[in-house]
């Protein structure tokens, strides 16, 4: 670790904190329907959209309706994307002529699910799979819509706390529309232009054919990168325009863009804690959540940075001193790579500016554990807040018992229904991660594509499968790029990332196979909707409750004790669930690395 490295991390965090209050306040105004300086511009558009959708702005939804609207919105988008992806061959803006051969049914399913669920896991390399149209029209809109969905769900849950004896938890269409129009659109507009100024391309040209200085030919991928890059970060989506994602010099050309990209990942998740505090009438409550997130984030970041800076002794023994540079870009160095990795996994972004797969074991454990925490350390836009509130409910439940009262959070009694729903969400996520990894680590599928099982997977969900390389079949654990514990970590990371709706990867794994596409697709659906639906149920149940006034007997949830307790619950739930898997993955690998064991 260098002084400059620590300073960069501190500066990043300092600037982030400065944005929290203004941004949070602005969002609180937007989502409670107050006028903002943007109202003159977007007000008419907003009302026009409501007319088009056929919704009334003042209609309040019960949680079931809200959940149904959210699901309908997502499913509709999912279908549209699936169809557009499969049809990319006949659609415009396809200078490279990519078609269904590249975008197979299972990959289209995986990709459509991935973008709908704000995961942006990419089983494919976009550089040689996707047309500009697919990137721009089939996928990029989900960067907006899934982010808006996340914000909407978080708001619904916040209203559950803020309202008393109420039936409804808000209007999904209004929340989502406002999120896109007032929050995402204006920021993305300026952000994208700054990115272009810094060197991020924005064109519809064919891939450039260049003759290099040494006379070789080089094909340089182009496209409308900046417009997608901006929302990809701001909406914590993370789906790269290029395979190398934010490590690609066209996606992230300078330290300045890198700083902005990191900041924009955390901008909304951090500010939403303030919005939450504002809406429940006590901003200290929001700061407490932010405090818990910050502590976990900073500790993780410095552990990751520390191990990356310490480097790999095996490499150092070869006369290459210093930190671990494998899979890192020179312009970012180790500090910015570790910081970016911690940010992108703490928030469920998943964009990467370095290859997590090549991190040192503990350096790579941090991103993995950040996701395993349930994506609550800032988390995805909206998703982080509602995930953290779920943990707060569990923390308050245990704390409440310990102080001898029926637990309450923000004046709402936490009873069996809330505990049941919170446990359900926790359980389903654990099942998806652990179960998926167990399959991936051991399944030996029939090697021949003709055999029945593979054929079935092959044809899922319908039309014929394009390419057939038999490396896609056989033992699923052979799809990893590394052997030994690191290989297990690659599989574990894949299911963790999918379930946590993160989207980053230990990218050595070959995930573009029917098996991984389908199972990871299901993991993403489970991780998204089986988390959201129980939480909306909690929102509905909370909204209907009376408010218990606070007294000395109420245990305060805006203090350091609570922050520590919340951190404890997040860490312990994560650690207890995943420690066995982690012990056989990164933990043992760390000692093997020091001991010089190779695979």
């Amino acid at each position: 670790m260098t002084f400059n490295g620590i300073l960069q991390i501190a500066l990043f965090f300092g600037v982030l904190l400065l944005t929290v209050k203004p941004m949070g306040l602005f969002m609180a105004r937007v989502f409670t329907g107050e006028r903002t300086f943007l109202s003159p511009v977007f007000g008419p558009v907003e009302r026009g959209l409501y007319r088009l959708f056929g919704v009334r702005e003042d209609e309040d939804m019960k949680w079931t309706t809200y959940a149904f609207a959210m699901l309908a919105f997502s499913v509709m988008g999912l279908f549209l994307t699936y169809i557009l992806l499969r049809l990319q061959g006949v659609l415009p803006l396809n200078p490279q002529g990519y078609g269904p051969k590249q975008m197979t049914p299972d990959l289209a399913f995986n990709t459509a699910v991935s973008f709908t669920t704000n995961t942006n896991w990419q089983s494919y390399a976009p550089d040689y799979t996707l047309s500009y149209f697919s990137n721009m029209v089939a996928l990029a809109p989900h960067n907006w819509m899934s982010a808006a969905t996340g914000i909407a769900v978080a708001l619904a849950l916040v209203r559950g706390f803020a309202r008393r004896s109420a039936e409804g938890i808000g209007n999904f269409w209004v929340d989502a529309t406002r999120a896109i129009l007032y929050v995402l659109l204006p920021i993305s507009l300026f952000y994208a232009l700054i990115l272009v100024q810094q060197g991020v391309p924005q064109n519809f040209a064919e891939y450039t054919k260049a003759a290099t200085l040494e006379g070789a030919s080089q094909t340089i991928g182009q496209g409308p990168v900046a417009s997608q890059e901006a929302i990809k970060m701001l909406g914590t989506n993370g789906g790269g325009f290029f395979n190398a994602n934010s490590a690609h010099p066209y996606e992230n050309p300078t330290p300045l863009t890198n700083f902005l990209e990191m900041l924009s990942i955390f901008l909304i998740p951090a500010a939403l804690t303030y919005t939450f505090g504002k809406m429940v009438g006590n901003v200290r409550q929001g700061w407490a959540l932010l405090g818990a997130m910050s502590v976990m984030f900073l500790v993780g970041t410095f552990v990751c940075y520390g191990f990356e800076a310490a480097g790999n002794p095996q490499v150092q023994a070869l006369g290459v001193p210093g930190g671990n540079y494998e899979g890192k870009e020179v312009r970012f160095g180790i500090a910015n790579s570790a910081l970016f990795a911690a940010i992108t996994t703490a928030a469920s972004c998943g964009a990467v500016n370095s290859m997590h797969d090549s991190f040192t074991p503990i350096g790579g454990l941090i991103p993995l554990f950040n996701i395993m925490s349930g994506e609550v350390i800032f988390g995805g836009v909206g998703a982080g807040l509602y995930g953290m509130l779920m943990f707060a409910i569990l923390a308050v439940f245990i704390a409440g018992l310990m102080v001898g009262r029926t637990p309450e959070y923000l004046g709402k009694k936490i009873e069996q229904y809330e505990v049941k729903m919170a446990m359900l969400a926790t359980l389903v996520l654990a099942a998806s991660i652990l179960g998926g990894t167990a399959l991936g680590a051991n399944l030996n599928l029939p090697k021949e594509p003709e055999s029945t099982f593979a054929t079935k997977l092959n044809q899922f969900p319908g039309t014929a499968y394009g390419s057939s390389s038999d490396t896609f079949y056989g033992a699923t654990y052979n799809n990893v790029n590394n052997s030994g514990p690191h290989g297990l970590t690659e599989i574990l990371y894949a299911y963790t990332s999918a379930t946590g709706n993160n989207g980053s990867a230990f990218a050595g794994i070959t995930a573009n196979t029917p098996f991984y596409n389908v199972t990871l697709g299901l993991a993403m659906l489970i991780g998204r909707f089986l988390m959201i639906i129980p939480l909306l149920a909690i929102a509905g149940s909370l909204a209907a409750k009376k408010l218990v006034p606070a007294s000395a007997g109420t245990f305060p949830t805006d203090t350091g004790t609570f922050v520590l307790l919340l951190i404890g619950v997040v860490l312990i739930v994560g650690a207890l669930t995943y420690l066995p898997a982690l012990a056989l993955g990164p933990i043992v690998e760390q000692f093997q690395m020091s001991g010089g064991k190779l695979f």
């Binding site: 509709m76 924005q202 003759a211 340089i220 010099p249 066209y250 899979g327």
Partner: protein, 219 residues
């Protein structure tokens, strides 16, 4: 409940059009006017021909050029297939490398791990067999397209380039310095040398010693 289906359909269509078409076209339009060069990929034109992009690294093998980092993108600096090596810290392939199996004559299984890259680097640059090598010189970048190397790496290559070009080392060092970017605002990122721009500057400064294009272009 079913009343929500119409808004679902209409909103998906409307937002797809707004964010998937209007927005990128608007950004494209504005940026083509404001920042035309960057919007087109910061391409470098020489004699009417595009020779690359300022932002995308290239493979340099000849001693008269500064060499980029090793690359895992396609066959090396394939800007249509960006990628890192994705090899982990206990990967034998990374830490030891793989030697060609003489049994299979048609296939080349060899893979340059860090030791092979380090040996080659030392040899190229006339370094002692146990000399320390800058980490960036023997590790593959995340994108495989990293256009930059560390100033330390450039400094070690400077004597070789100077010798090959028959230039004074100071002149080469001066060019290196000119093409070195410090930390943004003295704080952000790392100091770095853009290899493509540096080599272009070399060609401009000493056009006579410009290495001949390789007979068989790298893949």
């Amino acid at each position: 409940m079913l009343r929500q289906l119409r808004p679902a359909l209409m909103s998906v269509l409307a937002f797809t059009i707004i964010t998937g078409l209007f927005f990128p076209f608007a950004i494209t339009g504005i940026s083509q006017v404001l920042f035309p060069k960057q919007a087109r990929g910061s391409l470098i034109e020489q004699n009417g021909k595009i020779i690359g992009s300022e932002l995308i690294g290239q493979t340099f093998a000849q001693p008269g050029y500064f060499h980029s980092r090793p690359s895992a993108a396609g066959g090396g600096y394939d800007a249509g297939a960006s990628s890192g090596s994705n090899l982990g810290p206990t990967s034998s392939k990374l830490i030891k490398g793989i030697e060609d199996d003489p049994a299979t004559k048609d296939a080349d299984e060899s893979y340059s791990g860090i030791p092979q890259l380090a040996v080659a680097y030392r040899k190229e640059n006339n370094l002692a067999a146990d000399a320390s090598v800058p980490a960036d010189a023997v590790t593959r970048s995340a994108s495989g397209l990293d256009p930059e190397i560390s100033p330390e790496n450039a400094a070690l290559q400077a004597p070789r380039v100077a010798a090959a070009r028959k230039l004074g080392e100071d002149a080469v060092r001066k060019l290196v310095d000119e093409n070195t970017a410090g930390r943004t605002l003295g704080l952000f990122g790392e100091p770095r040398v853009n290899v493509v721009l540096l080599n272009l500057a070399l060609d401009k400064a000493a056009p006579d010693s410009k290495p001949k294009p390789a007979a068989s272009p790298a893949p």
